[in-house]
Symmetry: C3
Subunit: 328 residues, 3 copies
């Protein structure tokens, strides 16, 4: 929970007229005004105080009161890669930015799928959100009146590390789907197998997949249905982060589906936000947080592994090797 | 003013179905959500995040995702003793809790008396409230437009230490009572003797008694009338506390009396709250409070003794001996 | 930006019945209540808690509960000099207060002039306001939609140090006045010479003069017109200050002129306030402000000189020599 903030606290995102996204450090190098208080002119940012002008690559290209521009006059420009619906930002050492590591999610641009997306700012350390999505056993309690998942979590999911990623898996075999799933693939409460899998690719990226296997398809039914969730986190500070979520599925398509997903997920994730912010608040209210105890159980295995994954990345970054990609 | 906070900052009070009061540390030992965001089931508290369940004695009795409960999974349960209208909480070493030390106030459960009670959260160190009630010479200034006490405080009260308690006494002899007293015992402005006595039993407990002696009772008048105040303080943090007050008297009984006491005391004590919070605010605004001067006078003797009383208790607690009882 | 706060954080200003202004430390020496929560009686301040009473020279003159007044019972009284419309306060070593150093501005009490004045509390270090008024090249950006100054600042002003004061000068020769000036002296857009001069007399006092020279006066026109601005700053804390401004001119007189000046300056200086507070906020949001870079340009010369002027004054004060006058 006390892990350092990975990103520079503040940046100004905008798009050039050709659509290319730009992210600049949001602080004029001259007297420190946030550049977001200025304006755009010809794809360049003009500071609203003395008119210093910055190109999209971060260099100051105009100081209105003199011809010569100081060599050091530049703000940081963050490497970006856009893979709709995401724009990925690299906030570590720019030399280490590797666009090849940016993932592609074909289902988010596939006509056979529908997806909805949303954004929440949550006033807590982003690792608490990571742990939240790495342990879904909270559904029966935190979301008992929203998602109405009646899954039996008498045993926690299995957790493995695969290719450096934290993975959890849990199967619900021969059981009716919760309405959240069953109502939309047309299987209703028919007993089926459901295989849940969550993968924490990086501190910024978590993808959850529910694979529904219908061993005995009636006419008009399919053998497999997929639902996916993306939980993307961009830290703002050690006490706040941005949470970009996507829900996608390969069935129950259409605009109405998108509207339903947006409404139900927004409501449910607000429950997480309230919980996570209450935890952070309690931590902040404590004069000596180090004295607070924490007892973990088996269901926390994936979350604890994610903490270790982060610590290893931080250690590597401190050793000058690499940073971590994250979504914005 | 900088004395440490005596209580754990936060606890969750509730009553079992049989009426027994319970106070638990308000923070799930698992991931730190305040238990007050959960719910009660069969006298037990269910955490609203992952459903950890706690018995009234603080032990975790259920982890939904596994059969075995970690040995350390418990929140602190605070010893309580209920003596209506108070519930006493012991926040020190539980082994030192001694119910025999909980005071009994017969007049609070006596049909010959009437009492009103109230609660204020005051955003200041609780010792400032203690000092406030240990020096009533502020009535002529802080409460000049509310209580309208016209007592002559040309000399400060006498302060003594009796049985380890800080006591102040002051007598007003052969003088008419202020309307605050005189209007309700039926003596009006008749000259009488009034003997004020305040006793700080502990950092949590202060009892004030005004004994009105009517040497020359007319028909229908009594020789003695009593008014008592309880000023009970429960710290929340070094910068905030809860103030539980009671006003009681053995005359002018009835519901109307209770309503009058509630209204007039609430209004008057709001004046104290405004003053005490302004003092704390000034302290907090100061970059180096240690440089602020403080000049005490004779009227502060009791308040200064209470500070010493507290320091002695803290020293004893640090030496592993005992804590201090307080009201909630 | 991190310079220490020059003034005691808080003082209580009032006027005696004969009109003399008084400024006392706003904190009762007894239990720390701000004296501004008390009341005045016969030119003396009565604390609203226990009635300690202070004379205008700061000494406590009455403790209601005892005859003897403790020798140390006094609040600081700050030397004041009133030169309307300003009251000057000396917050340094009182022995160093030198009324002779208080400036006189004849134009503020001259029937041939009109002036308007106003006050803003700005939540930023006061030196940021000093730098703001020492570099007017921000007009074209920060005030582009309010003052509509179309001055050409292709070259920054000249900066000199004269008699220990920071001075900048800039001339606009043979050019039409901006409407802000031209509309009120009756010259409209007629090409004239304008000589701007800003003088930072002290950290508290900055006077700007625009001298308009009309080399070829038509009938009814004058050869010279003056506009002056006073930018007076009183720090409240390292993160907030009070800004007292005056705009004065020797033409376009009358109440309507005063109303216009009040409206237009208030609106324009609100733009500065928003900018300065955003800069301070960004600074405060930063976990390690020392790592923030700052690149200065030629136009900052006067502002940087003012920082040096302040540092020299602080060094002198630390060496026990003198403080600095400032306005309130």
């Amino acid at each position: 929970m006390d892990s350092a903030c990975l990103v520079r606290p503040l940046f100004l995102p905008y798009r050039r007229r050709d659509g290319t996204p730009v992210a600049l450090e949001d602080r004029c190098v001259h007297r420190g005004l946030p550049l977001s208080r200025g304006w755009l002119e010809d794809d360049e940012v003009v500071c609203g105080y003395h008119g210093f002008r910055y190109a999209a690559h971060g260099a100051c290209v105009r100081v209105p009161t003199q011809a010569q521009i100081p060599a050091r006059a530049a703000v940081q420009a963050f490497p970006l890669v856009e893979k709709p619906p995401f724009v990925w930002i690299w906030t570590g050492d720019p030399a280490q930015a590797d666009p090849a590591r940016v993932p592609v999610y074909p289902w988010l641009n596939d006509a056979g799928w529908v997806h909805a997306l949303g954004h929440l700012r949550i006033a807590c350390n982003y690792m608490a959100l990571k742990e939240n999505v790495l342990d879904l056993t909270h559904f029966a309690y935190a979301h008992r009146s929203s998602f109405e998942m009646d899954d039996d979590y008498a045993a926690p999911p299995r957790c493995t590390i695969e290719d450096g990623k934290v993975v959890f898996r849990q199967s619900f075999l021969g059981k009716p789907l919760p309405p959240f799933y069953g109502d939309h693939c047309g299987l209703g409460r028919k007993p089926v197998d459901r295989h849940d899998e969550g993968v924490s690719h990086s501190p910024a990226e978590h993808v959850f997949t529910a694979r529904i296997v219908n061993r005995d398809p009636a006419p008009g039914e399919r053998e497999e249905y997929f639902v996916r969730f993306h939980h993307m986190t961009t830290p703002e500070s050690p006490r706040a982060h941005h949470y970009w979520w996507v829900m996608a599925r390969d069935h129950g398509l259409g605009d109405e589906a998108r509207a339903w997903m947006t409404a139900v997920i927004t409501a449910g994730f607000e429950e997480d936000r309230a919980i996570l912010e209450a935890i952070q608040q309690r931590l902040d209210d404590c004069e000596d947080p180090s004295r607070l105890r924490e007892v973990s159980v088996l269901a926390d295995t994936a979350g604890l592994q994610a903490r270790r994954q982060l610590e290893a990345l931080l250690a590597r970054e401190r050793a000058g090797q690499t940073g971590a990609a994250r979504a914005s």
